[in-house]
């Protein structure tokens, strides 16, 4: 068998040399250097796809990463924004912003009451549920709770707009814009704004305010619950230092208005006539 194998040839009709001649003709015709199209290679495509996903991911984080700062009932909170602007949050207020997107747009979402001191620069916008306040660099106070929305301007110029009706006003120092239920603005001029921002300096100032609102403010400032407050609508005027305790402030208010109250537990008070 071994011997037979040595004697066997495959009956190819074309010799190796003939085949080479055919190939050589083609080889000489083809250019020696070829441009390789990298974009067709699967590795390159994968790398492309991966880098696009990565860039989108990073951009997404930069754009949408947000920080929320909150002042809980009974506490104030001072928030420093990336450009040095500050927001003093009154009790039970919250603010959120996009720290990495800050250099492109100074937008914050805000609910509650806050005193803003904005560094000069590009447009600074505060979005709340009912209204939008836009400034370039100034200081102002926003009150946005439940259906109420009002803005007081301390320095600079502030543009206030209703989110629904798109009505807007521009207010200058010592003016105050109050959003009405109809979606229009009521601008008060020459307002003494020390009352409006008194809370920043730990003062509680009530100027002919309905009693139920006064009790709500006390609840927020001290983080307490006051039961049976809803029926009191009479107006009340008075000043307090926030360093006083909740029971002392409540005592002053109730005494002058002829209301009795008792402490039910640590943070709960009950009003009665």
């Amino acid at each position: 068998m071994e011997k037979l194998q040595e004697q066997l040839d495959i009956p190819f009709s074309k010799s190796k040399a003939d085949v080479w001649k055919g190939i050589e003709a083609r080889v000489d015709a083809a250019p020696l250097v070829r441009k390789i199209n990298l974009s067709a290679s699967p590795v390159f495509r994968f790398a492309m796809a991966a880098s696009i996903v990565f860039v989108l991911g990073v951009a997404g984080v930069i754009r949408f990463y947000s920080v929320t700062r909150q002042a809980f009932p009974g506490h104030h909170q001072l928030v420093d924004l990336p450009d040095g602007s500050t927001v003093h949050l009154n009790a039970a207020s919250s603010l959120s912003y996009h720290p990495y997107w800050w250099r492109f747009s100074r937008d914050v979402s805000f609910e509650g009451e806050g005193y803003f001191e904005v560094e000069k620069g590009s447009r600074f916008q505060v979005n709340s549920e009912r209204g939008t306040t836009t400034v370039m660099g100034t200081s102002f106070d926003i009150y946005s709770r439940d259906a109420e929305y009002r803005v007081a301007c301390l320095t600079g110029k502030v543009r206030v707009a209703d989110r629904a009706s798109k009505a807007e006003v521009i207010i200058t120092p010592n003016q105050k814009a109050i959003l009405t239920e109809q979606g229009t603005f009521n601008v008060q001029k020459n307002v003494d704004l020390t009352n409006e921002t008194a809370w920043v300096h730990k003062k509680l100032i009530f100027t002919s305010k309905p009693l139920n609102r006064v009790f709500e403010e006390i609840e927020r400032q001290y983080g307490v619950k006051i039961l049976g407050k809803e029926k009191y609508k009479r107006n009340y005027t008075g000043n307090f230092d926030r360093d006083l305790g909740a029971d002392e402030v409540l005592g002053f208010v109730c005494k002058t208005m002829g209301i009795k109250f008792e402490q039910k537990s640590t943070n709960v008070y009950q009003l009665r006539n």
Binding site: M1, E2, L4, Q5, Q7, L8, D9, I10, P11, F12, S13, K14, K16, V19, W20, G22, I23, R26, V27, D28, A30, L32, V33, R34, K35, I36, N37, L38, S39, F44
Partner: protein, 169 residues
């Protein structure tokens, strides 16, 4: 994006061709039993390797040639099977045989060809690559993309089968 590097020179390509053309053509012949088809496919894969303009790395280049040849054979074989049905036989021609022994050789040759055709595809390829082309087991394994163990096994079965069929030794 573009990138240039030094591709296979004509000289290197010729060298590859000289060293491996026969083995690759034989390989397809062992699988197909069709001399024309084998020449065709072997020429084709060499041209395709040239057109790829890869770098000169003999082991990789040869591996690629075998792979392309096998793939090409399978795709043509499938087509052909649909068209005509595949003719499964191998034939060889004798050379340098002393005239007095010619008849004896002819007889043996016929048995041998029939026996080879009866072997399985894989066993026949391994057997012939080893015996006719003189390739070492590890070379066969590398070119077919199987383990050396598998080559040894196929070889053993092929030898047992042929001995039985040819009544030799």
């Amino acid at each position: 994006m573009e990138l240039t590097f030094r591709p296979l020179t004509k000289h290197e390509f010729k060298q590859l061709f000289d060293r491996h053309f026969d083995a690759i053509r034989n390989y397809i012949y062992y699988r197909s039993g069709d001399a024309e088809l084998s020449t065709d496919i072997a020429q084709d894969v060499f041209l395709r390797l040239w057109e790829k303009q890869t770098e000169y790395r003999e082991r990789e280049n040869v591996g690629l040639l075998y792979k392309m040849a096998a793939d090409e054979f399978i795709s043509r074989y499938r087509r052909q099977q649909v068209e005509l049905g595949y003719l499964k036989s191998l034939s060889f021609k004798l050379h340098d045989v002393p005239p007095d022994e010619e008849l004896q050789y002819k007889e043996l040759q016929q048995k041998y060809e029939a026996a080879l055709a009866d072997l399985s595809d894989k066993q026949r390829v391994v057997f012939l690559m080893s015996r006719s082309d003189g390739l070492k087991y590890h070379e066969i394994a590398e070119r077919l993309g199987v383990s050396v163990k598998a080559v040894e096994k196929r070889m053993k079965y092929a030898l047992d089968f042929l001995k039985l069929k040819l009544n030799v030794r």
